[in-house]
């Protein structure tokens, strides 16, 4: 999980995920927030899925304009599965930003069960990251990982590769800078298209 900040693209994409909310007040001209309604205005009592950034901004108004509800992935039935054996779950399918989204909704979960499920899940799945980092078939080992888990496993795999090549090689070769090489590659690919 990245240390989030105002200019972080990752964080912006995470806060674009939708969560279910219940509107507590009428919102004139905001009917489009609920795709199932045809009215121009949004009525109090409507349920709709809206992006986290919007939900947070509506929730923090005084008085709050919405109630944030738990997405089903964080409700009892899923929590039971995760707590039993988190390693059997395909987080990529369940929610690419499982932990990040979980942190947002955990604040709205008074009993604190979401938070402990997240921690449990992370602890259990650490060994999946360990094995994904050394897996020979890295594509299938990476498949069930969430977006942030994939990044961590990929970074660990890079460490493994660097170490393995250090153990094998005698020298430390100088190489073309990364962006230089990539731009040259792209240019070559573009030229070949014509």
């Amino acid at each position: 999980m990245e240390f989030s900040n105002y200019l972080s693209i990752t964080d912006i994409l995470v806060t674009n995920e939708r969560i279910p909310c219940k509107f507590l007040h009428d919102l004139p001209k905001m009917g489009f927030l609920d795709p199932s309604a045809a009215d121009d205005d949004l009525k109090a009592g409507t349920n709709a899925e809206i992006p986290i950034w919007l939900a947070e901004s509506l929730y923090t108004r005084r008085p709050p304009l919405v109630n944030v509800e738990l997405p089903k992935t964080y409700k009892d039935s899923y929590r039971e599965i995760l707590n039993a054996d988190a390693c059997t779950v395909d987080l990529h399918k369940l929610g690419q930003h499982f932990y990040e989204l979980g942190c947002y909704v955990a604040k709205h979960d008074i009993k604190g069960e979401v938070g402990s499920t997240l921690i449990n899940t992370l602890r259990q799945r650490f060994r999946m990251l360990l094995s994904a980092s050394v897996a020979t078939d890295s594509i299938s080992a990476m498949q069930p990982l969430s977006a942030s888990e994939r990044l961590q496993a990929a970074a660990a795999a890079r460490t493994e590769r660097n170490l393995a090549s250090w153990l094998q090689r005698g020298d430390c070769p100088l190489t073309t800078a990364n962006m230089v090489a990539n731009h040259r590659k792209r240019k070559r690919a573009e030229m070949e298209m014509f």
């Binding site: 992370l122 990251l129 250090w166």
Partner: protein, 197 residues
């Protein structure tokens, strides 16, 4: 860090060589070395030893710890112990790789020695993975890692610290009761203030 940077740090270790030339003392920034007397052992930093070896100006004296019996003992001890045992040298893998790579003819039983060092390394690496998993399961906030060498510590970066960071982050975030407004301000300012001395 890149393994080559740790190798670079390890190259500062002092080892013994037997030069085949005679020369006055040399005054380097990292210390004075010599005089060089053909046939007489003397101490130099590892990087200098390798440079002279490459120019065929010396023979490298294998470090004391590069000895079959000693290494077999270490290997047995490492297998037996739940914990990491103390290595004869905090850059053992760097020294082994460089000396055996550039001057294997100077080391008696070089290929056996290479194998046993690799065995020790492998045992320790697999122990390291098990202990990382145990650390995460048992708490994941703090760990003591005596006797691990820098190269070994580096092999768990960024995986272990990143996982511990995530754990802490989830604990902090899911605890927060008052959410801040996302687009108006950054919402995880926990690491905000810098330290003053």
């Amino acid at each position: 860090m890149d393994p080559y940077e740790i190798e670079f740090i390890g190259e500062n270790r002092i080892i013994s060589i037997i030069p085949n030339f005679t020369y006055d003392k040399i005054y380097l920034i990292c210390g004075e070395f010599g005089p060089f007397r053909a046939g007489l052992p003397m101490n130099v930093p590892l990087w200098l030893a390798l440079m002279l070896k490459q120019k065929q100006k010396c023979r490298i004296v294998p470090p004391d710890w590069m000895d079959m019996d000693a290494l077999e003992n270490i290997k047995e001890e490492e297998k037996r112990s739940r914990f990491f045992t103390k290595m004869p040298n905090e850059h053992y893998m760097v020294e082994a790789k460089l000396i055996l790579g550039a001057a294997s003819e100077d080391v008696p039983n070089a290929s056996e020695i290479k194998t046993v060092i690799k065995d020790i390394w492998d045992i320790r690496m697999s122990k390291l993975r098990t202990s990382m998993d145990a650390l995460m399961k048992s708490g994941g906030g703090y760990g003591r890692l005596d006797h691990l060498t820098m190269m070994e510590i580096n092999s768990v970066k960024p995986l272990l610290p990143a996982a511990m960071d995530s754990l802490l982050r989830i604990q902090m975030k899911s605890k927060k009761t008052t959410p801040a407004n996302l687009n108006v301000s950054s919402f995880s300012q926990s690491g905000g203030s810098s330290q003053n001395i």
